[in-house]
Symmetry: C2
Subunit: 218 residues, 2 copies
DNA sequence: CTACATTTTTAGTTTAAACTAAAATTAATT
DNA sequence: AATTAATTTTAGTTTAAACTAAAAATGTAG
């Protein structure tokens, strides 16, 4: 059994590893978790003792196979609960993260087996993020940032990078959600801004918006 | 915001208060929570500082209005989650308590409002226990222990006192569940044992069984 | 290569929640 | 009423997880 704190560290290290493809620095963990580097050092040493990560002083941390599986399982639970909250309880997609942060720590294998089945074995959470399977494997999908598209290209929104309320509500206001078809009508090379078409509407978006929306082309 | 430990203490004191109708002793709390009396003293002093209970040295504890509401809310969450686990996830009634012990501590007003609605605003949990409303009020029902009935009396099972797996599985084996009609065919005054009829079957039960089944006799 | 800056670790504290052992209070028996 | 027993509290420790301040290691610029 692992503590709430340990689970949160593993999850954070997992995410940071994905992003950087390299070992994770103590400072990076501290920043992400809004804690102090000295606290992180304590914890990574503990996790290393437990063989969840490999760690060499001053050299950063990487998850072991065991630790990675553990982390993926926490993320699996988080995302399944988010599906539950949105699909069943009709929460809005910008309201579920904080609650899932708590629910992800509930300990019961059987609960997750049943929840998964009850939700129809979903592959993605409400933000388009893939749900790891029982063994921690994730289906990787061909996804691009909207900002990578050029004029006249089309894509289907399959997820978001940024998941804060402000951004998700911005998307809602413009009727963009998972599955929405987006057509790039114009792109300004100077600042990366775009004119896009969504349904019958067409409007301007900044580079910052385009860099936080994942689309599938083809 | 209250800690998990504080919530568990409040819940325990609430239950003990119900049972004894009087102030709750430090030892009683310690025994119920499987902890040491000295630990309980520490915590009740802390809860008293926070005005959740009233406490005088050596005199035991009673919940304040505020503490009682708090405790009832934790119990509300526990029982709503139990309904979810049984009604939606198809858990068996003897499997849900431990999971609900964890889920009861999830902090989100809105989550409970929605869960309650999703479950159809249930009044009772899978063991027949009443679910407190948002204000901590509980519908008190006229319930008796099966052991209080005499020969030729009939009752409908509306709940259980003991909720351990062994007992619940015993009931299942004999097709007794919430709503089951029970007919007392005979009662032995020497040891309190009974012969009862359930559907077409009739069989012997000990006093211990009869003392842990609640019935309604209309 | 040296000097300064940044990152990381160590050492020592703090807080919550448990514990043991001993002291204090209350209850029960002779 | 005095003694013994049971209950409850106090005092002092322990552990997990945070913190601050200072030391050590690593990285960067001149
Ligand atoms: Mn999330
Ligand atoms: Mn978390
Ligand atoms: Mn229960
Ligand atoms: Mn609990």
């Amino acid at each position: 059994m692992y503590s709430l704190a340990e689970e949160n560290y593993l999850k954070t290290i997992y995410h940071l590893e994905q992003e950087s493809k390299t070992g994770v620095s103590t400072n990076a963990i501290a920043e992400r978790m809004e804690t102090k580097p000295s606290s992180v050092t304590d914890m990574v040493q503990k996790l290393a003792d437990k063989k969840m990560i490999s760690y060499k002083k001053y050299k950063g941390s990487t998850l072991t196979v065991h630790g990675k599986k553990m982390a993926a399982n926490v993320i699996r639970k988080h995302r399944l609960w988010e599906v539950f909250l949105v699909d069943k309880l009709k929460f809005h997609w910008d309201e579920v993260h904080e609650i899932a942060e708590q629910l992800e720590h509930i300990q019961s294998e059987e609960l997750i087996v049943r929840l998964d089945k009850y939700l129809g074995n979903p592959d993605f959470d409400p933000h388009g993020d893939p749900i790891p399977d029982k063994d921690g494997k994730v289906k990787s999908t061909e996804k691009k940032l909207l900002s990578e598209l050029n004029k006249k290209q089309r894509g289907v929104c399959i997820g978001v990078k940024e998941t804060g309320s402000e951004f998700l509500q911005y998307l809602d206001k413009r009727n963009i959600t998972i599955g929405t078809k987006i057509n790039v009508l114009g792109k300004e090379f100077f600042d990366g801004s775009m004119i896009i078409q969504v349904g019958k509407d067409q409007f301007f978006i900044s580079k910052k918006i385009a860099e936080n929306l994942y689309v599938q082309t083809n």
